[in-house]
Symmetry: C2
Subunit: 140 residues, 2 copies
């Protein structure tokens, strides 16, 4: 059983393979270059909003069993890979929460990037932390 | 360019294709049955913690361009697919934030499930809402 996915766009910031270790400690600005065929799908994303960007760690070395526990930078003890945000995971899926600065067609300017330039984007979702923030809940 | 992923486990709750529409409005309990080969990767996930579960909408009909804007249940107007949590998306990736109740080997008992029974799980991550919660940040 396997699932195959294709990028809907790419991360752009012009800094190559340089990026802060995590969105929560990043001030890097750049943009999401979404394939224009998906442009209508970006409706209702607004400046000032936080979005979840799910992406592919396309430049991570393959996962291997020795990586089931890893010691993150700035930590002294190994931790289970599913308890940390390491880019070397069984499925190379990344998740960042970004601030939307501007929207221009199929380009979304964002802040707090922690991906490499050119990283393939798989999905964008609203950042929902609880019942009141769910955009499909009872709001008409 | 495409990426292929394999499930690391499956959602179990015994209610078949029934599930609340979103984790934020669900009280359903069940468990994540993770492949034991990944068991060590679950270290440091603790009861009481919130985890992000990334899964595959394996029973969603294929995406088509008419779904770029969709009207969610309880809404009166169509919205861009990337601004809502619909299961019909260009890449069929779902995201739920679950409470960890118990861990027993490679089984994680959880609350707030909104997936169908048997849904394939692709990844588990810590639920990080800001700098202080990042598990790889400077905490030793």
């Amino acid at each position: 059983m396997q699932v195959t996915m294709k990028p809907i766009g790419f991360v752009r910031h012009g800094q190559g393979d340089q990026a802060p270790r995590h969105w929560s400690i990043s001030d890097v600005e750049g943009w999401l270059e979404i394939d224009p065929v998906y442009g209508d799908g970006l409706s209702n994303i607004e400046p000032g909003q936080q979005i979840v960007v799910i992406f592919w760690f396309d430049r991570s070395a393959p996962f291997e069993p020795s990586l089931l526990r890893q010691t993150p930078p700035n930590r002294n003890h190994p931790r289970g890979v599913f308890s940390i945000c390491s880019p070397r995971r069984p499925n190379p899926i990344g998740l960042s929460v970004l601030d939307v600065l501007r929207i221009d067609g199929a380009r979304i300017d964002v802040k707090h990037l922690d991906m490499y330039d050119g990283t393939p984007i798989l999905d964008i979702k609203p950042f929902v932390t609880g019942k009141d923030a769910c955009p499909s809940t009872d709001k008409r």
